[in-house]
């Protein structure tokens, strides 16, 4: 009984995690999409790098966190996946994203 409750709990946790991540991803996707359209319409390098930066900063870690939650056990990396690999990979993507945004600020048209 206790075990079954634990499994159900984990399942709802996973669903809630998936739902909020999808909402955040949709909002991020919309903003990135508008920035990318701005690049297509205005031929502006600066907004292109902002779009790439925002994508790396938001979309990539979200995608990673969903992948980690759904494929985590089958990879066989154990708990280190959640305590080390995923956070570090997310952080590295965020660093790349921030680098893109910083670069975009320094481009002179």
């Amino acid at each position: 009984m206790l075990l079954q409750f634990g499994v159900e709990q984990a399942y709802t946790d996973y669903l809630i995690h998936l739902a909020v991540t999808l909402i955040a991803m949709m909002l991020a996707l919309y903003i990135v999409f508008q920035a990318f359209r701005g690049y297509r319409r205005n031929d502006s390098q600066r907004i292109l790098f902002l779009a790439i930066g925002l994508a790396l900063l938001t979309l990539a870690p979200f995608a990673l966190s969903i992948l980690g939650a759904s494929l985590g056990n089958s990879l066989g990396l154990g708990p280190r996946l959640y305590t080390f690999y995923l956070p570090v990979a997310s952080r590295l993507l965020e660093i790349c994203g921030l680098g893109c945004i910083l670069y975009s600020l320094f481009i002179r048209n």
Partner: protein, 145 residues
Amino acid sequence: MSGTAVYVHAVFPAQKIEYVFYLNRNRPIHVSEDCSPSELFALLDDEYARAILTATSTQSMSAKSLSEECDASLPTVYRRADRLIECGLLAERTEVVEDGHHYSVYEAQLDRLTVELDDGELHVDVEETPADDVADRFTDMWEDI
């Protein structure tokens, strides 16, 4: 938009403008973008430039449709449009069509032009209208930083 040019000339008759510019040769004047006040006034004095501004104020238009609308040759439209863009009165956007082709459209940026004479200095300020499309506003905002 053509009314704006009339307003400028009515307030500053030719000799007065010359006087003011002379005064300002050694002083910093606030000019929008990379365009001097004399260039701006000369541009607004041009009937094709005004026609392009008025035509593109309601909807964005391609050079071809502008040339029909303003009864001007295509090279004339391109020359005026380039000068208007330099002065920050017009914006050029790329419209992407379904099949992957894209072409340029122009959209008026000018909302209001103010000329202020203050303590021997002439301030010409171009106020821009925010772009219609959210992607264009986003781009303008980010580029203004």
